[in-house]
Subunit: 369 residues, 4 copies
């Protein structure tokens, strides 16, 4: 399988940046889950460029649900969402396609597709396709919320600025649902945006680190080998363009500590077994332990910059200098948070359906309409 992810609940992604449309097929989700256009629009809005630090380009995401929803609820059969590319242009890409952009997929796409790939705007590799993931993810998110499972991602670091740590998770996740720029601390948000603007003024770009929390996930989900919860989530998260690292719980910092610091002691709280700390990020032995799931994603700086870059001409094989023009985001980390949420939701729906059956995510009071 290439552009399909998941087993019991799966998503199939298609489209190119400048083709007629992009879209996703979300399959296997339980029947009876409410599908609200407003929720999809809200998720898409969080992914869209906003404010001074993003490209001025308008990028509306007019979506159409092609299938899988009847009377406002999922049918259980494939839900296809189509997003038209309203600004698709067939204009002159030939002039620039020969010069592969450093840090982008232009060169590797050529190696894989032998020049038959659609090069316009990154084609199938474009970050534009994440809009379809976010739309599908919004439906998955609604399903999870119906079972008390909440997901939220904030910008832990960007442009040398650190956000505050997660605190009251319930409140933080609720706030993140509508926060356009996902730093929990307002000053950090302002500083991050200033840092992005400064990079933009230099014709440059910045990256960042996203931190995600998931609450309400039952214990006992995941497999001991291979399909560990961490492995499957990382698999999903590395699909997101620009993600170059994934760590769970204290992650790389665990490697620096001792066992006595990093083991999470068990204790009892309100009749439940919990851990006193959560360095393991809610996963032991590949399986959820009932504590919040915690992970970070490293997002590299946007490769599209306005400085001259050394590159190679695909067709002549000669070295050349690339000078990009046009509109490009000086950072995408603040947009990627919506994609991280979406991929997390899609992955967890799959894991839960595999574990507890295909009806588990359906609303409790199932009834034929």
């Amino acid at each position: 399988m290439k552009n399909t992810f998941g087993s019991s609940v799966s998503v199939t992604l298609f489209g190119e940046s400048h083709g007629p449309a992009i879209g996703a097929v979300l399959d296997g989700l339980a029947p009876g889950i409410p599908v609200e256009n407003a929720a999809i629009e809200q998720a898409l809005a969080l992914r869209r460029p906003s404010g001074s630090i993003s490209t001025a380009r308008q990028e509306p995401d007019p979506f159409e649900i092609i299938s899988g929803v009847f009377n406002g609820k999922t049918t259980g059969t494939p839900l296809c969402i189509l997003i038209r590319n309203t600004q698709a242009r067939s204009d002159d890409y030939a002039a620039t396609r020969a010069l592969v952009r450093p840090g982008h997929a232009d060169y590797t796409a050529f190696c894989k597709y032998h020049g038959f790939e659609d090069p316009r705007g990154g084609g199938h590799f474009s970050g534009r396709l994440t809009a379809a993931l976010v739309a599908a993810g919004a439906v998955a998110t609604a399903a999870l919320r119906g079972k008390g499972i909440c997901i939220g991602t904030h910008i832990a670091r960007c442009g040398g600025v650190a956000d505050r740590a997660f605190g009251d998770l319930e409140a933080d996740l609720e706030a993140l649902r509508t926060l356009p720029f996902a730093a929990l601390d307002a000053q950090a948000a302002a500083d991050m945006q200033a840092a992005v603007s400064a990079a933009a003024a230099d014709g440059d770009s910045v990256g960042g680190v996203l931190e995600t929390a998931v609450t309400g996930l039952p214990a006992g989900v995941g497999e001991p080998w291979f399909d560990t919860l961490e492995g499957v989530l990382a698999h999903a998260l590395f699909s997101i363009p620009a993600v170059k690292g994934v760590e769970f719980g204290s992650g790389f910092a665990m490697a620096e500590g001792r066992g006595s610091e990093m083991n999470d002691a068990f204790r009892r709280e309100d009749g439940k077994t919990v851990t006193a700390t959560n360095h393991n990020g809610g996963v032991n032995g590949g399986i959820s332990n009932g504590m919040p799931l915690l992970f970070h994603c490293a997002v590299k700086p946007t490769p599209s910059i306005f400085r001259p870059q050394q590159t190679v001409d695909l067709f002549t094989g000669e070295e050349a200098t690339l000078q990009l023009t046009g509109r490009h985001d000086p950072a995408i980390v603040h947009r990627a948070r919506a994609v991280v949420d979406a991929m997390t939701a899609l992955t967890l729906c799959d894991q839960l359906a595999l574990r507890f059956g295909t009806d588990w995510l359906a609303p409790a009071a199932e009834a034929a309409p």
Copy 2:
């Protein structure tokens, strides 16, 4: 699929720490690949505890090839390797099983398997099972070497000590094939082992960071979405017990830099397109670009420590204090390097077979015996 990984080339893992045997089924590898017992023994030796910093326990790995090899070469049909548990004991686990070990899978195994899991020595979750992965990986490694693809992993950090960076990759990877303690710098190796011993003297444990390089991988391997080379490798690597983070190329450090620093400029060298730097770790847009594949794995400190730990009794639900006895490694990062190599080899064989067909890994001069 639960204990099976891979699509065209797959590995299936079975066994429990104290059952009769553990083993792996390696399926889909091309026919005609030489299978040498010495290579498997060598890989197993690198995984085995060695020297003063590992448990004194003898853990021989007497393997038997059950199927899939004929006249010393792979047949192309499933290759099953069985490793008997020579020290299997059915002794008194009941006394300790109720107290779940912090940082281990005892509690999550109970949540998933409802108490029917084999608890002796960690059962199916035991690091012991990685021996079977290493044995299967040794066959995959031989297949890759036949095509000029080399893999090597060193201990980049352990117990606060850093190894030197990779230098001449060809020489370093060659050295790592037989280095019992995989630090490239001899002093660093000594210091790391001293740090491990110090932790052991405290009844404690340490973790570390492994760095892996792969040379010779062709460009054009991997998928743009979901089955990105990074995603699939991370999926595999997170199966390794104690791995809590995976990053490619400069990984989390990329998130701190600017695009102008992190983009890898393209240039020509010996008639080939290469990159001047390799911050992206050999992967752009999910697809290999022909540069060395580079990644780090964070390995947490061994959860088995000899200090009293707070925990919970599985059956009474009461809080309790756990005091481990017996033999436990104060670090596993130096052993995990062999498992990282194995999982990398198995994953790359699958990716290459998917991309280029099931015969691609077969030796060039195919001939019926």
Copy 3:
């Protein structure tokens, strides 16, 4: 995976009979394969009701290629084909939905989707969705023809009338490419259509048997166990609504013969190893042997008939009598042949890509445009 089939080359199906559109995502096909609208239209025409024996209803199939084609050729990324439902109606289904139609999926859909399924016109279970499979199959067929692999299906039996057996396969398969009613013998075609008309006049329906031949398939494709060529094809073919039996070569008739009659002796012809007979239908031990692939599919009579039928009310649980009205085909076997061709093409593309790599189906003279 639910509505996705295939591994290296896959197809994902979505849509409902009366929703906005149906469609398919064809993923993993090699880049550079010509995609001609005329070929897709031709395949769709063969699936469409034609002449007096099919419903009078006009059912145009206006398709749109959403992605995966650039400059008239496949890009190698997902190819999404959308077919709008021009005659979608939201009208009064409530009156009839309670009475589940015998032989249809109404009752089982309710058992699986708990009443949330779209019941209009069969919803996601509608034979209408096969149009999307046929459109995707037309692209796969073009890819196979580029490698000298041809597929054709005729109506071996329908309404008690038998077609002549396959003769000169090359000529027969060529004729079938455009034959609107796929009986090789003109008189048989006329008799079959008369039999269908007679059934229709009785308010009844008929079924039939389809026979498929594939020429040019290389030897060595398929797996010894589980993913046998027969098993994978049968898996695909049973997806086709109304198919209730699949047999390879002489199939059920082999069960009646002796080994001396049914073994296909090997001999040499033009420097190639061939078999003197082909009772095994081109497959030994699950793997293609280079002879034509031959199989039959049993297609049951259309369940929609105009006679009163006993059924049950889904909501009251009471027995009731169902009297269908509207337009329904008295036979679909003559239309199903196009779907059998499509599923065969899609399945073989997958098998070939798995065996020989993802570029194998690409035209020989690959060149960047």
Copy 4:
């Protein structure tokens, strides 16, 4: 995946006829299911040659459970069963391997594995491997019986002799559990065995048709497209060596009837919706309807016969005459019934776990030991 079948519950098969052992890994089955050696032995006994019509060769099946069972119950982790090849011989196969046996996989194995395959006794293609499937199937069967789901297969036709049809399914399935030669009618059993003996006396072989019934399967299992219950079962059943046709319900006979005869009218019985007839074999639209699942498998005559056969020399490419010697079954249909039962049980366990979750097959009263 090649020698692995299933998704949530899977089986991986390994071994060669004359290697040290064959085996299977059964993964994903719920924890807590009793595993009784006697049940496995009983299933293996039904597969073993018995009486005058089978080869005189003793073929004991001494199995060892390597993993996945603790205190007599499944742990939920992979269950590996190993069956030693006690009569493995490395003797002189070279003399005969060049002459590929008609109807066998010798030639196609060579096309696929290029001569590296183990040719001794059919190697990995040997029917011997079905013993491992039967052993794994016995565990799956026990799990299903715990949920009231029963499977049984009788020899509907063999050597021109027909068994009586299924009658009282409960009684018939119970009888089949221990019937060594699975014809329900004693006279038919005797006549079939006489027919097999007559063929054997001619140096020839016969095939037959197996009919399987499954009772107790819940409605709502299976998918509308691709992973239809019929498609998935057929996929599994065609793995069984010698199976060349699979039909559900009235199968190919449905193609000859009219809709009014073949539609199964719904009615109510004991508060349940049932069908008056069962021409559809318990499946509508790919999904179980709660009626007994019914299907036939066509088993071709054993290809190993003692008559001279025309064939080709693999290495010289010249035509040759093959005269088999040694011991070979003149029929395998009476043995294949045990394999059909096993593959059915394994497939249904997977389908049920996918539908209802991984714990569904666990005994109702789950409790930690």
